[in-house]
């Protein structure tokens, strides 16, 4: 029990450390951004007098020493206040919470379809015959080598412009979600399949597979019920990591398909030098990373009963 408490405490400490690091990294890197932040606030070509500049500086706390700014920033972050956007005349937390649902929707469907697709392809291509595996390997390699923005553009060209089956940009219904999800899910599924199939093929040579076969289980049962579990742990780690980076993928895909969301707002903030929004996005993705890591840890235990004994850390 004490060991479990210590384990949880250590995990929480590590998570806090990552969040603090991300906040600090965002704060200090953005201090290096050249130019007067007042220009970003008023728009660079606006004529603003020295007095007005000072007033704006005071309003955003930019007149204080750097260390005071940093401490103040951390204090606000702890209270969930992320400052005001330079450009959008809104608090950053409002901007982010407004843009989060479309990106979360995109991420959820991407992760779900990629994982299901990868499991299906893995089971279908891990049989005795080499041919499906060879074909699948080549297809996976091509998909992984294809940048998502070009994949998105090509899907748009074929399915929206040539065939006219799907809407060109966000139309508000589920159909406009199909192409962005496919664009993001294909590379993720290809990568997962590679890892999972390697694990499955290794597991298929284990003695427990022989004993399962000897008990007369059908081949697909052996593969999907017994061997797949063993292939699932590394795939789970990879899937968690990939889901965390989907925020990066969303920057690209939301721009290709003109969807609203965190990715779109991030790119706009970088173009406009809207630093508080960039800081907010950095913090948000650190939080996402921490949450996903915790979920993945929990899933380890669900997938692998061997981890349930004791504190549950030995094999993880």
């Amino acid at each position: 029990m004490a060991a479990a408490v210590r384990l949880v405490a250590r995990r929480v400490a590590a998570a806090v450390l990552v969040l603090w690091g991300a906040a600090s990294c965002a704060f200090f890197i953005l201090q290096l951004v050249p130019g007067d932040p007042v220009n970003a606030i008023v728009g660079s070509d606006a004529m603003v007098g020295a007095e007005q500049r000072d007033a704006i500086r005071r309003q955003y706390g930019l007149d204080q020493p750097l260390f005071d700014q940093y401490v103040g920033y951390l204090r606000h972050v702890v209270h969930g206040e992320l400052g005001d956007s330079y450009q959008l005349q809104q608090p950053v937390s409002a901007v982010l919470s407004h843009q989060l649902p479309p990106t979360a929707e995109l991420t959820f469907w991407t992760a779900l379809s990629a994982i299901l697709g990868a499991v299906l392809v893995t089971i279908l291509t891990s049989g005795r015959s080499q041919r499906p595996r060879r074909i699948s390997t080549v297809v996976e390699l091509v998909i992984i080598s294809t940048p998502s923005f070009w994949l998105g553009i090509m899907l748009l060209t074929v399915f929206s412009f040539r065939l006219g089956w799907l809407p060109v940009s966000d139309s508000g219904d589920g159909r406009s979600l199909i192409l962005p999800v496919v664009t993001l899910a294909l590379p993720m599924a290809a990568l997962l399949t590679q890892v999972m199939r390697e694990g499955l093929l290794t597991a298929m040579e284990e003695p427990f597979v022989l004993s399962a076969r000897a008990r007369g289980l059908a081949e697909h049962t052996v593969r999907s019920r017994h061997a797949l579990r063993h292939a699932a742990l590394p795939a789970l780690t990879l899937a968690g990591w990939f889901t965390g980076t989907l925020l990066g993928g969303a920057v690209v895909v939301e721009n290709v398909f003109a969807r609203p969301g965190i990715g779109r707002i991030t790119l706009q903030a970088v173009r406009d030098r809207d630093l508080p929004v960039v800081q907010g996005v950095v913090l948000l993705s650190a939080v996402v990373f921490v949450v996903i890591s915790a979920v993945v840890e929990t899933l380890y235990v669900a997938v692998d009963p061997r981890l349930r004994r004791g504190t549950g850390v030995r094999a993880a």
Binding site: V18, G21, A22, L30, L141, F149, V270, R271, V282, S285
Partner: protein, 289 residues
């Protein structure tokens, strides 16, 4: 000599784990294509007579034909000429970014592994923070700090790659540091800097060399992605990413303006990965044996 050539040959014909062993013809094809792409980058004028900036509005959106193999874009510029001239930007940014990332990662990883527990803890926590963020976000922060252009694109791509590689170097350096030959070097009284340079560095680099081609491939596509997002090279530079940005407004009129630069990009990344995976497989085999 004959044993040396037979061993690797047998290894690559076996479909090994991780998709490492591709058959020889595919690798040869990839190597030939890669040579062609490098020639595109070095001597674009050998392959196209035109100027990538030449406009010809009368023949805008001409579909692929014998005159324009890849068609023309919205200003009547020849897409083939622009694609060939664009090769050098993508290759140069990808290669430079990979080199910068690898050097940074080597220094970072070795410092963490060799400078004691405190340095290790600090350097690896920093890497953890960077790894917690998507690579693209790190790249965007670098672009905010520097002016847009080839230099900031390269630095941005490198920033997205280096932290992961640093962990790999550190892990390997920790193993190498405890190995017998390093212990004997220390016991023989070899000075520390020399031990690090001669014995630890070369052996700590081997996993990095295996990862290098994959890294080069992703760096080439990441550079193009940044340019596509309007944060890297700027139009009218005939870079693959900027060409794709320009093409997106005209997908209805001229799909070929988007198809061909992208195909070239995918084929290049694929060829780099295939050839690199093959060479990397050999390198790993040699290190292990």
């Amino acid at each position: 000599m004959s044993a040396g050539t037979r061993g690797p040959g047998r290894r690559c014909s076996r479909p090994g784990p991780g998709g490492q062993g591709r058959s020889r013809p595919a690798v040869l094809l990839a190597a030939a294509f890669l040579t062609l792409v490098v020639l595109f980058a070095l001597f674009p004028a050998l392959f196209t007579s035109g100027d990538p900036a030449d406009t010809d509005p009368v023949h805008a959106f001409a579909p692929p034909s014998a005159q324009h193999f890849f068609g023309t874009d919205q200003l009547g510029r020849d897409v083939l000429t622009r694609s060939v001239h664009g090769t050098r930007y993508s290759l140069a940014i990808g290669a430079a970014a990979t080199a910068i990332a690898m050097v940074t990662a080597t220094v970072w990883g070795l410092a963490a592994a060799l400078l004691g527990r405190f340095a290790d803890a600090v350097l690896m926590r920093v890497a953890d923070v960077f790894l917690a963020l998507p690579g693209l976000l790190l790249a965007l922060m670098v672009i905010l700090v520097m002016d847009k252009g080839a230099l900031s694109t390269t630095a941005a791509v490198a920033a997205g790659t280096a932290p992961g590689l640093a962990r790999v170097v550190r892990a390997q350096a920790l193993v190498v540091r405890l190995s017998g030959y390093v212990e004997s070097a220390i016991a023989l009284g070899v000075r520390t800097p020399l031990t690090v340079l001669r014995h630890i560095l070369p052996n700590a680099l081997s996993p990095l060399l295996v990862l290098a081609p994959v890294s080069l491939g992703t760096s080439i596509s990441a550079g193009a992605a940044l340019s596509y997002l309007g944060l890297g090279l700027q139009p009218p530079t005939p870079e693959w990413g900027t060409m794709l940005t320009e093409s997106q407004a005209y997908l209805q009129q001229g799909w070929w303006t988007a198809l061909f630069p992208g195909l070239l990009l995918v084929a290049t990344v694929l060829a780099v990965t295939a050839v690199g995976g093959h060479v990397g497989g050999h390198a790993r085999g040699r290190v292990l044996s």
